[in-house]
Structure formats: structure tokens, C-alpha cells
Amino acid sequence: MSVMQTPGADGRFGQFGGQYVPETLVPACQELERAFTEAWDDALFREELNHLLKTYAGRPSILTECHNLGRELGIRLFLKREDLNHTGSHKINNVLGQALLAKRMGKKRIVAETGAGQHGVAAATAAALLGLECKVFMGAVDMERQELNVFRMRLLGAEVVAAESGSRTLKDAVNEAMRDWVATVESTHYCLGSVMGPHPYPYMVRQFHRVIGDEAREQCREVLGGDDPDVVVACVGGGSNAIGIFSGFVDTEARLIGVEPAGGAAVGRGVPGVVHGMKSYLMQDEDGQVQEAHSISAGLDYPGVGPEHSYLSEIGRAEYPSVTDAEVIDGFTLLARSEGIIPALECAHALAWIKRAAPEMQGQVVLMNLSGRGDKDVAQMMDVLGRK
């Protein structure tokens, strides 16, 4: 039996998950669960989604071996190239699924939250393609550091609204999206961007992203003569790209590593809590006030984590180390110079961990999910690294 199960009606992964939403939203969550379950079992829906993934998003994404960096670190390093998907990250897998589902449910409008802007851009893209209205909430701080993605979303016809409350980052964008959804639930689908929030989102978003892990496992077996990698690594904010790649390897012998930012280490430093509709590890004070995360990467600047990651950590199936911003900057330039690939700052977290842990992994095969490309981060890194 797989470690990753379909949760029951209570939406639990062990003690984590659930559906902690205002009463107004309960019928919508239940409707979504029914609609997703039906759609996922419907061959026509799956065919339509797979067709879009293939002809629009560019799947399957390729597997790239990093010969230079691998040699330098004493490991065999493979990248699952989600950065090559349309819109530049893995997020497109989920939004195409949810946008098709929204149409199937008769919804005319989607709302979304975004951190770095990758999910917002993907949501705006899917909305443009499928003729849905789209509103994206983004922390005011993030709008500043990810100006380019704000422009991209607007170019795609989405309305982008600044979240001005709290830390004015991803957590507050989620609050604003949920507030919008409470008021518009009859016409609107909340297109949540990670494996978090109330049931069925953590499960549904995982299913939409498991294509990453399923493809990668097959691709690895092909190049490794039927073997699986020793270690599978991904960065974790909410945790969607990590769940996606983990789902292909959770039932193998591979170590699963989810790398968190030191300033947003929900699994590493949090305790169980309830926010944004779910019970999961959460950075909070002794009164239960949610703490603000601090990370160089807007996409990981989140004090919580998807509930299935909390579960995988609790049962000891996956490990969740954290890396500092300085290590991340190092990882960012390392991949650019050694392999000619500029990674998203989020993915630079995974690289930073690989570099640090390489001495203990000599000769092993390491698979990393390169979940997004770094174009969006170049302007920010110009300030960090200097313009010379």
C-alpha cells in the first residue's frame, strides 16, 4: 500500500489536513471534492487535461544530467526540468487542471494568491486560455520584488490586487484570496496554488502535480538501467513541486528531501497549528499568532506548509532541512556557471542543500526538481550581487 493515500472525507493525512473553513465555504469545499473526484475518474477529463499538458504546457518535461556540477560535487545529479514548461514553472500543471475543473463546475471566475508570481502567472495564463475571469492577490512586498510577474499577469488579462495586511507577503495574499472567495463563492473557484488549504486542495493539487514524479521515475529508470535515484530533492514553501516529485518515489527506497528556507522552516521549526483551512506545522508564537516568514525568495516566504509534508515528516518518510539566504545565493550562481541554467531562487534552496550534503552523498544518484526558471529573479539578484 502506498504511503501517499487518497484521504477520506475528513481530508486527513494522519493528524494533519482537515477543512477548517468558515461555514460559508463548507458547501463549496464539498462540491469541489465531489467535482474533482468525478473528473479524476472521468477518462474524457483526463484526456482533455493530458492534451493540454502535452500541446500547451510542453510536457513531458525533460531530464537533464548535470555533468559539470556532478563531477565537482562527487555525485550524479539529474534535474527534472519543470522550468521548461510554459510559463516557466511546474505551476502550470495544477492551474490547467483547476481551470478545467472550474469550467466543469460552471464557474466563470477564478481567484488566486501568489508569492513569487509564478502561480499567479500560471493562473492568469489558464484563465486567458479557457475564457475565465481572473483576479490574483499578491503581497505588496512581493509585487515590488517581482515587478515583472505583476506586469505579465496584467498582460494576460488578470486583475492583480495588492495584499496590504500583515507581512504583505504570501500568507496575506492567501488571507485576501479566501476573503474574496467567501464573498463570491457562488460564481468563483478559488484556484489555490499549492498543496495546502482546506481539503480537497492538498490532495487535488498533489494529483495534478504527480505527473512530475511519474514522468521522472520512468525517465530515471531509463537512464539508470532500471534503478531509482538514491536521493530526491525539492524546495518546499507550501510544497507543491516537492509533493509532485515525491509522489513518483515515495514507494521506492529513495531518500526524500524537502528543503525549506531558514526564515520559513515550518516543518523544521514549527509546531502543529491551524491556519488557511488546514492543520499542519506552522511557525507561530506561544499564543498561536502566526509568525511572519522571511526568505529571499517570495515563493517560499510562507510560515506554514502543506499537511501531507507534515505527515511525511511525522512518519519519518521525508526529511526537511533548511538553508540560509546566503547559501541560496551561492546555489543560484553555482548552477548558472556550471551548467548554463539559471534556476528560480526557490530551486536554489534545493541546490544549496545538495552542495552542503554532497560530502555525505559521494557516488550517489541525486534527482532534483528544478521547478522554475530564474528569469523572474534576475532583477532582484542584480541588486543582491551588484551590477558588475
Binding site: 461555514e23 460559508t24 463548507v26 458547501p27 500583515g166 488571507n175 491551524v274 498561536g288 499568532q289
Partner: protein, 255 residues
């Protein structure tokens, strides 16, 4: 004091019910509660500020933020409630993480010890409320359940059955805050609830002034006044809260 018994007695005396909401820990919050009690409130809802209040609009968000900045804590507020010295029951409104973090037992013990009658937890719907309700029931703390306009007919009886104190009818699709007019969903929902329960049914969220309170009380047993009260407290202080509550009282007494 038992909340439901008190509200039922007031209703039996022919009175419409008025429950103001005040954010605990906000500047002059206790004075505002005393003023509201003196001016005709039937019970008080004390908001426990939370960092991420997803059911609240700008006014209560701002109030929560100010209270937290001034160092308000859940247990600090609950202890101060015991010093209010008013003769109407008090319920706290809070988000579930506050309770979960503290532990149910420690939390209900503190409520009982400080004379708090009930609790409203807007992000703890029926499906998740089981354990909390069991612990609260055992300690004699009344858990007020919210009923929403989106609930199908099959769901409302379950909500009503689980509700203690009163049934909180959410007046509109949306978050707390003042609106220009009372949403039609408010009285429609109150009507649906009144048909299936004799527990007190109060409309909250989006009942924004005396006129709207009067309108709501045509169908409901009473109203909750949140953002309209908290805004006055932040803008003008506790006396303005007292005046406002007196005005709403007079309006609903016309029924």
C-alpha cells in the same frame, strides 16, 4: 451566567436581542463594553485578536492588529473579562488556532474561571467541531455555531442541533464589515432557521446601523453589531459606542 437561558428569558419578555462585538485589548475596550451594557446590550461578544483573521474585513483587521501591537494576549484578555463587572453574559469570538495552541482543556478552564459563557469559532465548522464541542460542553461553555446562506436545507438542522447559546446567522456572503443596505440573504436565512429551531437566532455580519438592525429583527430574534461598534470605538471612543448601542436599542425596541 448561562447565555442561552438569559437570551431566551429576554426574548420571552418580548425583547429583541442586541449583542455588540468589541475587540479585546483595543484601547478602551472594557469601557466600551461597560457603556454598551449600560445602554441596552443583552450580551457581549469579545473578539480575541488573531494574526490572520480570514472572516474579518478591514475594520476588525485593523482593530486586531492594534490590539496585538499593544501586547494583547488571549489569556490576558480573558482574565480581564472577569474584572468587567457587568450583569449580562459574555462570549468570546476567536479563531481556532488560539484554542488549539493553548489546548482545549486549558482554554475552557480559563473561560469558566473568568466567567465567560460561550465561544464562537468561525473557522471551526461542524465537521471539525466535534472534539472542541465535547470539551466545551463538558465544562459548560456554550459553543455558538454559525449558519451560512450557502448551507443547503439538509445542513441547517445539523448546525442548529449543535448550537448552544444562540444560532449565529451569517447575514451575507462575505466577511465582516459595514454595508450600505442589509443583504436580502440575511432575513431569508433567519427565516429558514426560525422554521426549524426555537433557539435564539441572531443575524451578524453586515448589519451596519440601527435601520438595518430594525430590518433584520423583523425576522430574527436579534442582531450582532461588530464593525459598526469597533469603528466607533477606534474613531471616537467608548462614549460613542454607548450612544450607538442606545440608538440601535431604540430602533429594535420599536418592534
Amino acid at each position: 451566567m448561562h447565555l442561552e437561558t438569559h437570551l431566551r428569558a429576554q426574548r420571552s419578555a418580548g425583547r429583541k436581542l442586541l449583542v455588540p462585538y468589541v475587540t479585546g485589548g483595543l484601547l478602551n475596550w472594557k469601557e466600551a463594553i461597560r457603556a454598551a451594557a449600560a445602554c441596552g446590550a443583552d450580551a457581549i461578544e469579545v473578539g480575541i485578536p488573531f494574526s490572520d483573521p480570514v472572516m474579518d474585513g478591514p475594520v476588525i483587521q485593523e482593530a486586531s492588529l492594534r490590539a496585538l501591537k499593544d501586547g494583547a494576549t488571549p489569556f490576558g484578555i480573558i482574565q480581564e473579562i472577569s474584572t468587567l463587572d457587568i450583569d449580562i453574559p459574555i462570549a468570546v469570538m476567536l479563531y481556532y488556532n488560539t484554542v488549539f495552541r493553548a489546548g482545549h482543556e486549558r482554554f475552557v478552564t480559563s473561560l469558566v474561571k473568568n466567567g465567560v459563557s460561550g465561544a464562537i469559532i468561525p473557522d471551526l465548522p461542524l465537521e471539525e467541531a466535534g472534539e472542541w464541542c465535547r470539551d466545551a460542553d463538558a465544562a459548560g461553555v456554550e459553543t455558538i455555531m454559525l449558519a451560512a446562506p450557502t448551507a443547503p436545507d439538509s445542513r441547517l438542522p445539523l448546525v442548529v442541533e449543535r448550537a448552544r447559546g444562540f444560532v449565529y446567522a451569517v447575514g451575507l456572503l462575505g466577511i465582516t464589515g459595514e454595508r450600505d443596505s442589509l443583504a436580502s440573504t440575511a432575513t431569508v436565512l433567519a427565516g429558514r432557521l426560525k422554521k426549524i429551531t426555537d433557539k435564539p437566532v441572531l443575524i451578524g455580519v453586515g448589519v451596519s446601523n440601527a435601520e438595518q438592525a430594525y430590518e433584520a429583527c423583523k425576522v430574527a430574534d436579534g442582531v450582532i453589531q461588530g464593525a459598526s461598534v469597533v469603528r466607533r470605538l477606534m474613531e471616537s471612543g467608548p462614549d460613542a459606542v454607548g450612544e450607538y448601542i442606545a440608538e440601535v436599542r431604540a430602533a429594535i425596541d420599536a418592534h
